[in-house]
């Protein structure tokens, strides 16, 4: 009870807390908090069991599937969903130009997984891209254009991303 009250974490730059009601319950899935409570629907539910990566977000810069995370685990952490990614992030334009998005449902999670990769390895090889994105399923593209987009974005330095 107390824990729920004191629970707080940062979502896309905004502090959410149990005390002010912006976190309804510590047992709520992060995915549901994002979509149903915060109204941020860029994070998608593809399977609900951590297999597809459509619900991937960054928690302290690490990719996690938000369908598997009860918000009670997030105390003191920083969560970024697609809505929090700076619009200047070179991945956005790279995905658009390369044709790396088709139906688009996997795209937000895929971009965040790629962002986590580029943050720890700014100049990845194709194999590193393939390994980093292996938790994000795409059924449309066959991945080739996604590889190209990530490698392309890696060559774009500067900006404030």
């Amino acid at each position: 009870m107390n824990f729920a009250r004191t629970l707080e974490f940062t979502l896309n730059g905004r502090v959410l807390s149990g005390a002010d009601g912006s976190i309804a319950s510590p047992s709520m899935r992060l995915l549901d908090l994002l979509r149903l409570q915060a109204g941020q629907t860029g994070t998608k539910e593809g399977c609900g069991e951590g297999e597809c990566g459509a619900c991937a977000v960054l928690v302290d810069g690490e990719v996690v599937n938000s369908c598997l995370v009860p918000v009670g685990q997030l105390h003191g952490r920083t969560v970024m969903s697609i809505e929090g990614l700076p619009r200047t992030d070179p991945l956005l334009e790279a995905f658009a130009r390369a044709g790396a998005t088709q139906c688009g449902i996997c795209t937000p999670g895929m971009i965040l997984a790629a962002r986590a990769l580029l943050d720890r390895q700014p100049d990845p090889s194709l194999d590193e891209v393939r390994e980093a994105l292996a938790g994000n399923l795409c059924r449309c593209t066959g991945y080739a254009r996604i590889y190209a987009a990530v490698l392309d974005a890696a060559t774009v330095r500067g900006g404030d991303a």
Partner: protein, 765 residues
């Protein structure tokens, strides 16, 4: 913010056919702003859920509502609540919207519930028990169905087609070498990453509005009017951003729409959201038809085919759905791109107690093409020829007639496609190198084998035969006083890119920048019926219609608003639109599809020219196989295809890459496992495995653009073609690597192990 500024293509791009413009929906999708059905929330919205049968057919005795719930707080819909017809409208009206009394398969919807509290709804769902008297002898295989070991429906056959040419007996007598084989493919789940769903409500004007994830809004409308008894003016179907379809959102959305609509109508018009979770989606929705094909194929010593006899059967599941047309496409594609004067293909869509199978990219062709390609490899082996040599001897060339009867005209140069594939994949050198390395590895006891295989095939675009004549699809183009143009069509974007390609066609026809042209939201109260978004038909056929409509609009402006007939830029166009709209209430032009003269098809004898255009391809697959783990790893894939004019090279390449990877899944990963009731037992992404980035190296894609396409600027249909080739090419590579005769897809490690145990000393081909 570079993305929004480039939302409609590169600055200065005229947007015409052939330009690699950025997709119009790319910005919304990369930013996470595109709204899919599950992203929509309405005040007072209820959530819906579906109670389903468990047995593989039988009789529903009664439905029991468990204790502990205030059932009066739930909206409950059963078959008796259906105001109109209790059947979805497809080819036959044999599939109930809600089962009552008799049913045919596990997972059949029986009862619908709705409640504002999703958690409570799930608990209540578990508290409803359908008491069933199960069918004691369900039928789960094609062979059992055909042998009448149990009855699903009288005769257990939904359709029986025969395509027969020449003199089979004479062809058999002339054959010097004969190969016989039996080939099978399994069910395949679409795994669009967005599960299916619909929201229904009744608006202030009394119109039933159903919006959701779908490929074919007019199919959904057709079912809704029949089920609700309302006319089309009182029902509106609205397409939401759709997260993948691949055929899986062709027919089943009509069921979900009907369910959501029935719940909303019973709830006094309140919005009801019915979105499946993954497990329900995989359990309930159709799969690619499992197939078994018996092939007898004979040739003279020089390799020339003398006869071909195929018995092709599809497991249609428990209701007819689209099986007859899936079957006809499979039968027509069964002889492959080869000339054979004496041929017979019998095709049957068989009834079983599996949940119904339905449309999936390729639509019957991947199954029959798999069989003929494997049979060609087998025949080559028996002739002492290579698979490549046998194909070169028999490939359709200008002046030949295909088995269905289509004259191959001089726009087709299939040899050029084959030769490019051999060159790009370095096929002959690799084949030799792999054979040598396999021999060396075998001698040294190293557990690695390498394989290479090819498939040559073609795919007809658009509805089969007279289908496009019957559809008589329509589309419109309209403009406002600023000269901004809308494409008005029911073609539904599900990721394949038609929102962009149709706009490119229209922008090109009107000489406008691409960002002046958009596609109007797909809403059956606004857009005409352009036919379903299926069959590789959108760019080629609807593209042609919108191009004609654009020309009509331009002619109207030239005739009535002083648009200069030549050299008019967008400003002159906008000025003419403004002048026109000063004098007229609206500015739009409509066109209807006129099939080209070369399409003439006699469905009764399966003879004629079934498709306006074929795309042609040769695919080469390379595999590495670890004999210790029996894993098959794809090490390379080359896809060369001739698709007429490429409308957008980025979108086209994306279609091929995506289709090939679905084909890789079909060949190496994706296996639908059934429980004792015939329902999908591995209905989760945890144990139904689709290819990931770790499994897929970049696919190498090459286009040839030969003349002869009947779409806009000579385009041909493309979307399904890449599904046809990977299965046979990959299995050929596996059999090359291992010296095995595996004849079924998918090939999982246990299948490799079984084949190796059957042939304990793997020899090098």
């Amino acid at each position: 913010m570079p993305i929004p500024e480039r939302r409609d293509g590169f600055p200065g791009t005229r947007g015409a056919v052939g330009a690699p413009v950025v997709r119009k929906d790319a910005a919304a999708k990369v930013l996470g702003e595109a709204r899919y059905v599950d992203d929509l929330v309405y005040p007072g919205m209820l959530y819906g859920a579906t109670v389903r049968t468990r047995a593989a057919g039988g009789t529903i005795e009664r439905i029991e509502f468990g204790p502990g719930f205030d059932w009066s707080s739930f909206v409950v819909v059963a078959a008796a609540d259906i105001p109109g017809v209790n059947a979805t409208r497809m080819i036959e009206q044999d599939q109930p919207v809600l089962a009552c009394d008799r049913f045919r398969h596990a997972g059949e919807p029986v009862l619908l519930l709705a409640h504002p509290d999703r958690g409570l709804l799930q608990e209540a769902l578990a508290a409803v028990t359908v008491h069933e008297s199960p069918n004691p002898a369900p039928v789960f295989s094609i062979d059992d169905a055909l042998a009448l070991r149990g009855e699903v429906c009288p005769g257990n056959v939904f359709r029986d087609y025969l395509m027969s040419r020449g003199d089979l007996a004479a062809g058999e007598a002339a054959a010097e070498v004969v190969f016989e084989g039996r080939f099978e493919t399994g069910a395949q789940e679409h795994v669009y990453i967005e599960p299916q769903g619909m929201i229904a409500h009744v608006d202030a004007g009394g119109v039933l509005v159903v919006e959701g994830s779908m490929q074919c809004p007019y199919y959904v409308l057709d079912t809704l009017t029949a089920v609700t008894g309302r006319d089309a003016g009182a029902v509106r179907v609205v397409h939401c951003t759709t997260g993948g379809g691949f055929g899986g959102k062709e027919e089943y959305p009509s069921h979900i729409a009907a369910h959501a609509a029935l719940l909303s109508l019973k709830a006094g018009g309140r919005p009801v959201k019915l979105v499946y979770d993954r497990a329900e989606d995989m359990l309930a929705t159709p799969k690619r038809h499992p197939s078994r094909t018996l092939v007898r194929i004979g040739a003279r010593r020089d390799g020339r085919l003398s006869f071909l006899d195929m018995d092709f059967a599809l497991d249609g599941g428990a209701y007819t759905t689209l099986s007859p047309v899936v079957l006809s496409r499979g039968v027509i594609h069964a002889p492959g791109p080869y000339a054979c004067a004496n041929a017979r293909v019998r095709g049957r869509a068989v009834a079983t107690n599996h949940p119904p199978n339905g449309a999936f990219r390729g639509f019957g062709a991947p199954q029959s093409i798999f069989a003929i390609e494997q049979a060609m490899d087998g025949l080559a082996r028996q002739l002492g020829m290579t698979p490549l040599e046998l194909r070169r001897v028999n490939m359709l060339r200008p002046g030949d007639r295909s088995v269905p009867g289509q004259l191959i005209d001089d726009t087709t140069d299939f040899d050029a496609v084959l030769e490019q594939a051999l060159r790009e994949s370095d096929y002959l050198a690799r084949q030799e190198a792999f054979a040598a390395s396999n021999a060396a590895n075998a001698a040294a006891g190293r557990p690695l084998r390498k394989g290479i295989g090819l498939a040559t095939f073609h795919h007809g675009a658009g509805f089969t035969g007279n289908g496009e004549v019957v559809l008589a699809s329509e589309a419109r183009v309209r403009a406002n006083a600023e000269g901004r143009v809308q494409v008005v069509a029911s073609s539904s974007e599900m990721g394949q890119g038609n929102t962009t390609t149709l706009c490119q066609v229209v922008a090109g026809a009107l000489g406008l920048p691409l960002d002046w042209v958009t596609q109007a939201p797909v809403d059956t109260h606004d857009v005409p019926d352009s036919g379903p978004t299926v069959a590789s038909r959108t760019c080629m056929i609807v593209g042609l219609i919108v191009e004609q409509a654009a020309r009509g609009l331009r002619a109207e402006l030239i005739g009535k608003a002083g648009l200069p007939a030549t050299a008019a830029d967008e400003h002159a166009f906008a000025a003419a639109c403004a002048r026109y709209l000063d004098a007229h209430p609206r500015l739009e032009a409509q066109a209807r599809y006129e099939p080209p003269a070369n399409v003439a098809w006699d469905e009764t004898v399966f003879e004629g020219s079934p498709y306006a255009s074929y795309a042609w391809a040769t695919y080469v697959a390379e595999v590495d196989i670890d004999l210790t783990t029996c894993e098959v790893a794809l090490s390379g894939f080359t896809a060369v295809q001739e698709v007429g004019r490429v409308v957008n090279p980025v979108i086209a390449a994306g279609q091929v890459e995506g289709g090939v990877v679905q084909g890789i899944g079909f060949a190496l990963f994706e296996k639908v496992v059934r429980d004792g009731n015939g329902a999908m037992a591995n209905n989760r992404m945890t144990n139904y495995i689709i290819p990931t980035t770790a499994d897929v190296p970049p696919v190498r894609v090459f286009f040839q653009e030969q003349p002869g396409g009947t779409g806009p600027s000579g385009a041909k249909g493309l979307g399904e073609l890449p599904m046809d080739g990977p299965g046979p090419a990959i299995l050929s590579a596996v059999n090359f690597a291992l010296g095995t005769r595996i004849a079924c897809l998918p090939v999982l490690p246990e299948d490799v192990l079984a084949a190796l145990q059957a042939a304990p000393a793997p020899e090098v081909a």
